[in-house]
Amino acid sequence: MKDISTNFERGITNLIIGQSGSGKSVFLKCLIGLLIPDSGEVFYEDKQYGKLRPEEQRELRKQMGMVFQGGALFDSMTVEQNVMFPLKMFNPMSSGEMLDRVNEVLERVNLPGVNKKLPADLSGGMQKRVSIARGIVNYPQYLFCDEPNSGLDPRTSSVIDELIQEITKENNITTLINTHDMNSVFEIGEKIVFLRDGLLEWTGDFKSVHHCENEHLNNFVYSSNLFKQARKANLKGL
């Protein structure tokens, strides 16, 4: 990856899109510090991530929530224990307060009453929602989602997208979503960063995608006939 310079704003859903192998996951991992870039810098507000001491990096990471592609839920823990985990590790709340917060976020992701279930007892969509609940339980400033829609049916994908967008607006957090789901692009893509072969190819929002002349982006976004027809209709003003 090289020559990528961009910024992501608070309160909007930022999407990183691109084909498989374009560098989306590597880019995301560089942003959250799981990979160290050979050169270049990542800034959180005015803090240069690479210059922070390991303890300071950990402090910064406590302000991050992450939704992994496979959920990454701790399979030996119940849903309640999974969601409570970040609070237990860092928050000085009492047990009762932690439980109230867990129930609040599970309610928020439309999963009431599953507290005592194990992740293996849940469907893929429910696991993603538990992962979102765990990501937001400790009041993060930054929410990272690595392909939150992968392996989900279109309806559930849409629900997850709407949920992430609502949470972003409600809490005014900086949200980055790594995806190659075109529905997400057109539904919640308030800022879109298109990567190709490790390079930043295009930046814009979902409205500007329709009018974009970038060949690579058009080939990627309009690879299905359905989206091609939608574009034609959009350009004709239908």
Binding site: G33, L34, M64, M66, F68, F74, F85, M89, F144
Partner: protein, 225 residues
Amino acid sequence: MTKYSVLRSLIVQEVNDLGVRSVGIIVFISLFIGAVVTIQTALNFSNPLIEDSLIGFAARQSIILEFSPTLISIIMAGKVGSYITSSIGTMRVTEQIDALEVMGINSLNYLVFPKMVAMFIYPFLIAISMFVGIVGAYIAGVYGGFLSSDEFFTGLKEDFIPFQMVYAFIKSFVFAMILATVPSYHGYYMKGGALEVGKASTTSFVWTSIVIIVSNYIITQLLLS
């Protein structure tokens, strides 16, 4: 740093998983190996000039010095070591370790340190193994008609050097740290998918056994020669 209350519950959990749950297999193996060592010794002492009490002496020496600390540790490399490698390896494959890191948790500290502390219980397990091994030796020797109860206890007490117990427990402690760290390394730094978790467990068992055997030689050379 991992919060103290969380660390405490993790250590208790690991003591149960790595130590308490191994007691059954340790008792079972120790009882029968102790018995077999006695029978083999008795059958090979055919010279009438050798006293039968030496059967008890040989059983004690082989159980305390080598069988309990070393052989049980190699068996534990298969049981505990594979468990550690596969559980940490699965967490690596399913991005659970990445999830810990993103939350700002030192994953090595969270996953490996409690196992190392929990393995402080290991010398106690070896003590149980020694006791049960000698019980097995007594049962096989006395009830098998190879020697009398008095002869067994005479042999058991003969030329007893207390430092040999210290040596056995020093070895046990070193092996405990090897059992906690080598499999953790193989699990933590593994790459790939489910198949690689299985391969990592096998590699971990091989390397843990090798490290135990080599360190056994070094410790014996340093402490006994």
